[in-house]
Symmetry: C2
Subunit: 329 residues, 2 copies
């Protein structure tokens, strides 16, 4: 019997368990061209919070009372498509469930890289592409840039640190707590700010970014974005990837240094990774190379059992993950 | 006896008359290569507020106890340069005074366009170039774009309206009060918002921008910027020119819709006009053409007498000008 998490009600502010319901999907026979996949790994990501609102956005909102979607990795257990055989490991977007029935054209084989399959939900998947294209295409990263990245111990941020180092940049990361900061440092960051230390981010950043910053990779918004504005160099480029600080908040963002945009000709560019999937070959080529050279490290925070998927999701908003947050089914 | 306004003390928040002092410059004989100019028109501009702070920026701060600078138009009354003769009308940057003594290389002849000389301090000068390059170079204006511009009755904003209309765009302006709104409408704007009407800007903009906005030209910041974010289309481009709402404020900018940057891939680009003076020939060519076709209208708000220069400057921050604010000496 397949089961899935459906959205029972739309959260106001921070979601709670009451917003989610685990439902039986029953068992459906495959139609021609379909495959049945036993999911092994499910992704939970901060952007999913936006899909829980009934607001027009780049992805449609989750429908109330319907299974939610998200990245997943699994094994084909039954196939009526000539493209997949039983036992094939695949990725797809029918997450938040233990078993998925999909037309073969909504399923992709795993890329040919020598990593654990769940890495394709993190550093070698959508979060990794977000880091890669955010730096290369959105921020126009150049060797020698000073790069500041918030949520630097997260799935995206930790990859930003490593790609920026691999490309010859000076990297400053921000993370919450001593353990995460130590990990970010171990990834090669030249300086790390602990935003939970009590020192305002704008002050902490000023102490380590003596020559200002050229690139800001924003996963957080709020105080981190304001600090980046305060220390932005002329022609700084901000890749605005996420604002986890405000996803659950009805409070507006308060920016003291916004007018610095003008004098320093700062460019702030919002982006979503799906606009760049046409260039995925560049990503796999470069990441494969860095993997081979031992330049990429990753961590995972794993919640075991489909039952715990909402817990894993909610923990994203309290800093509960180091590296990629995953659910192992 | 030449006189000039000097900065007596640095303002905290809104400047007052106490921050300014009218001082005698004495009379200095010309050195070789210098000219003496009797100023006819002085420019006061919002950006000057930034120069009154002791903060590193794209222009150095005004020095305490020294005459201030700014755009000016005048007549050469004495020349020891072979580049200018007595009677020549010129422009230069030694404003805030009735008479300027300058090396000839810090003086420019007026461009060959058939307009009143003071127009070269407004629509045919720096504010006009700001409108032109902000739209063309910064926002990448395309025919058919819906353009929203704040402070649309100001020197920059009123020119933005007219250039955008000349380039085949749908234009929405915001201005304060019925008279200014009527003028902006008369310039060709397709819709005008009165931000003093009591309706929140985000609501008023939503009512007239049914299909969203593609370009926002920001002169104001704050509530106007937030409204533009709320109604930005996918791939909207924001040219961030000024934020007069915050120049005198210690309060941070509060943005409720900032995260829309991400889903709609909005680009916010701060700019300053001096980066584009190398392309001034493009500006004069296009503006000259539109002038000849009768497509450019302008207004001026004139304060008479050098004594009133600070009053004119301060009135910029209370909406005291329609079109370019000028001081006639």
């Amino acid at each position: 019997m397949a089961r899935a998490w459906s959205l029972k009600s739309r959260p106001q502010g921070m979601p709670t368990m009451d917003n989610f319901e685990l439902v039986d999907l029953g068992r459906r026979e495959l139609a021609d061209g379909e495959v049945r996949i036993a999911n092994s790994w499910l992704s939970v990501d901060p952007y999913m919070r936006g899909r829980m609102n009934d607001v027009k956005s780049y992805t449609p909102p989750f429908e109330l009372g319907k299974p939610m979607q998200g990245g997943a990795i699994g094994r084909v257990v039954e196939s009526r498509s000539d493209r997949y055989r039983e036992g094939d490991m695949v990725q797809h977007f029918a997450g938040w469930r233990d078993e998925a029935v999909l037309p073969a054209d909504q399923v992709q084989p795993l890329p040919q890289l020598d990593v654990d399959p769940q890495a394709f939900l993190g550093q070698l998947g959508m979060p990794g592409m977000t880091a890669y294209f955010g730096l290369t295409e959105v921020a126009g990263l150049k060797e020698g840039d000073t790069v500041f990245v918030s949520a630097a111990a997260g799935a995206v941020g930790s990859t930003v640190v490593q790609i920026a180092k691999a490309k010859g940049c000076h990297v400053i990361g921000s993370a919450g707590g001593a353990d995460k900061c130590a990990w970010v440092q171990s990834l090669g960051a030249d300086a790390v700010i602990d935003y939970k230390s009590g020192t305002p981010v704008v002050k902490a950043l000023g102490e380590v970014a003596r020559n200002g910053i050229d690139v800001y990779f924003d996963n957080v918004g709020g105080e981190h974005l304001d600090a980046a504005l305060a220390h932005a160099n002329v022609h700084a480029r901000f890749a605005i990837c996420g604002m986890i600080d405000v996803y659950n908040s009805a409070e507006p963002t308060s920016l003291r240094y916004l007018a610095r945009l003008i004098g320093n000709r700062v460019r702030m560019q919002g982006f979503i990774v799906s606009d760049y999937v046409g260039k995925a070959a560049d990503f796999y080529r470069d990441m494969g190379g860095w993997l081979g050279e031992g330049k990429l490290q990753r961590q995972e925070t794993v919640f075991d059992g489909l039952e715990r998927a909402p817990d894993a999701f909610l923990a994203l908003f309290s800093g509960g993950n180091t590296g990629k947050m995953l659910v192992r089914v």
